[in-house]
Amino acid sequence: MILYNLNHLRILESEAIYVIRETAAQFERPALLFSGGKDSIVMVHLARKAFFPARIPFPLVHIDTGHNFPETITFRDKLVSEIGATLLVGSVQDSINKGRAVEEKGINASRNMLQTVTFLDTIEENKFDACLGGARRDEEKARAKERFFSHRDEFGQWDPKNQRPELWNLMNGKKNIGEHFRVFPLSNWTEMDVWQYIAMEGLDLPTIYFAHDRDCVQRDGQILSASEHLNLRPEEKIERMHVRYRTVGDMTCTGAVLSPASTLSDIIHEIAASRTTERGTRTDDKRSETAMEDRKKQGYF
């Protein structure tokens, strides 16, 4: 007898593509959230496969805090032009200028929380009814409770105690006017799966994921990139370090790791030996034990 077997990466890929197609079929105006990070790069690749040989039938949306790594923006623009996708940019600076958001003060000021305002405004302006994101359940404990199809009320809020049960492969995207969904096709992927998939598919990544020399500041156990957006304490010194990033968020709240890993295979080895999670490099998650749940309830990614 012939054995019909798929390895686990192909099963996860098929599952994610199923969810992406289901989103395109069930919603009128979906959008794919694109941050320039590895998970959203995998999402774009999967979306291309899902509709090939047609183009991705929805726009990519980037919420630009103005504090992005320049390498990410360069990568984003190149990718978008290569695949012929439509890119919409929601700007946090615009939200601040319009008085919709107020810049945080103090030494650890970040625009992370402000993104939620811009994001929800962008959803409303464009009447998006489903936003595909690359969040994974293994990232963070509040995310472990997410559904593939996650309902948001008319204020963009998440009600984690009262979620729809999700059975078999039957996704319920029914909603009332003004409500929307967040959709997470990579729910069942782990950080390792993402890296292995990137290696298997030979995907390009922004250069900051690989080891490079950078001017950095050490603060509260984190290595932050020196930049015009980072306010320094008097005693803090800028040092040249050999680092790479495990996740890519804002320059002000994403920590680098000391690393010599300059190839995908190096990175995979490094992660396999790593004893901390990737969210450990994010100061935005460390503000309190329920920082992610609190932000998600308000409408964060």
Binding site: E15, R48, A54
Partner: protein, 429 residues
């Protein structure tokens, strides 16, 4: 073997399992141990849990804090929702759907069980088979989870007694003879001390079987998928608006069951037209000429056909001589998931494969007492967490198989048309 070796990683299988049991059964301890021993708990996670355990004044590290992610869960010390956990060994990647075992959470157990290949059922060796063991086993049987591992836990507290183990096994066999379960394994373990979890216990030389981890890594799952009955629900029609692919019409979807090959004569439901598969685009390459020779479940693919036929989402591509049932009258077991009771003669929206329809509840036949497994013929009040046998009539014919034969084409959900909530999980008889 090394998990970091890419070739090896490409040969890993995926096993989804569900765990059922209450905190007292040592479920969290067991999951914690599987995660810990497979190095899937990271230092920052462990530190956070240790910190919280200390603040709460616990004597030992409470690994349940790892899975209970929501504020409300940690405040109340209970698991409210299904928590998904991931770990991997060089052989397999595992997805655990960890569900609370308490009676009112039948709906969560059903949810976790719906995608599982295996159920891990925990029994406290001191207490033997309890009502909740009946409940968990019944749900595993109802949801047709192909494999069950019964872990008889806390063997350290019964002096690793073979007699206790044997008695519990025969008690369980009495229970399972009334259920529809195929592949059941029994393991005496101590999750706390680690006996027979990853390493073989030295305390129980009388036990000749495998450890839990060995079984999880080696249990035969490749024949769990149905590779006989060809069912391809069309999920999305791909028509590129580009001159290069002017005449291209691709039917996208995930194969529910069976094996499809280019050249196969297929029938399209509901139209009944026949055609032949021209090509199957795999997802391995973004290249239109790179087609594959066969496609099987659970692959997501895009098919093209020889002839132009009218096909849209909700249609199903099948083989000519092996058809699903096509009907508007459908008998099913249903698990009710809403606080609003089922309305006799009520109307609901339904989702089945890629098809949307509406239905009316025609008849409530009986309710099942999931603790005693008795049929309650006179109780027609179906509330939250109840399981019942009902008949519905749908607005459109559905193309279905019995759930026993096909978990994809045999499953259906009911949706409240006012709130849009998923209120019922149906298994077609």
């Amino acid at each position: 073997m090394d998990i970091r070796d890419l070739d090896n990683y490409h040969n890993m299988e995926l096993l989804r399992f569900t765990t059922a049991g209450s905190v007292d059964d040592g479920k969290s301890t067991l999951i914690g141990r599987l995660l810990y021993d497979s190095k899937s708990i990271f230092e920052d996670q462990l530190e956070a849990v240790e910190r919280t355990s200390k603040l709460k004044g616990f004597e030992h590290v409470d690994l349940a804090l790892l899975t209970d992610g929501l504020k409300a869960e940690r405040e109340q010390g209970i698991t409210i929702d299904v928590a998904y956990r991931y770990f991997a060994t060089p052989k397999r990647k595992f997805i655990i759907a960890d569900t609370p075992g308490h009676i009112q959470y039948t709906r969560n157990m059903v949810t976790g069980a719906s995608t599982a290949n295996l159920a891990l059922i925990l029994v406290d060796a001191r207490k033997g088979i309890l009502e909740q063991t009946n409940r968990h086993s019944f749900i595993a049987s109802l949801l047709q989870i192909p494999h069950i591992i019964v872990c008889i836990n806390k063997m350290d507290l019964v002096d690793y007694s073979q007699e206790v183990f044997d008695r519990t096994v025969s008690e369980y066999k009495k229970l399972s003879s009334r259920l529809d379960v195929k592949d059941v394994h029994f393991i005496p373990i101590s999750a706390l001390k680690g006996d027979n979890v990853v390493d073989k216990s030295e305390k129980m030389p009388w036990y000749q079987g495998s450890t839990l981890m060995y079984l999880l890594e080696n249990i035969h799952i490749s024949s769990d998928e149905n590779h006989i009955d060809c069912r391809f629900p069309v999920q999305y029609v791909i028509r590129p608006q580009a001159t290069e692919f002017h005449d291209f019409r691709g039917y996208a979807g995930r194969i529910a069951s069976g094996v499809f090959k280019p050249g196969d004569t297929v029938k399209i439901l509901p139209s009944g037209f026949t055609s032949r598969i021209k090509s199957i685009l795999p997802l391995h390459a973004l290249n239109i000429t790179d087609t594959i020779e066969e496609a099987f479940s659970p692959m997501s693919v895009t098919m093209t056909l020889d002839t132009d036929v009218d096909i849209s989402r909700g249609d199903m591509i099948v083989r000519e001589n092996n058809n699903p049932t096509v009907s508007q009258d459908i008998d099913m077991m249903i698990c009710w998931m809403s606080e609003k009771p089922m309305m006799a003669n009520g109307k609901y929206a339904v989702k089945h494969t890629s098809k949307d329809a509406r239905c009316i509840i025609k008849e409530i036949r009986y309710k099942v007492d999931i603790n005693s497994l008795h049929r309650l013929e006179n109780d027609k009040n179906i509330g939250m967490n109840d399981i019942a046998r009902i008949q519905i009539r749908t607005t459109l014919p559905l193309f279905f198989d019995s759930y026993r034969k096909n978990r994809i084409t045999g499953s259906i959900i009911l949706i409240d048309e006012a709130t849009n909530e998923t209120v019922g999980a149906g298994m077609i008889i």
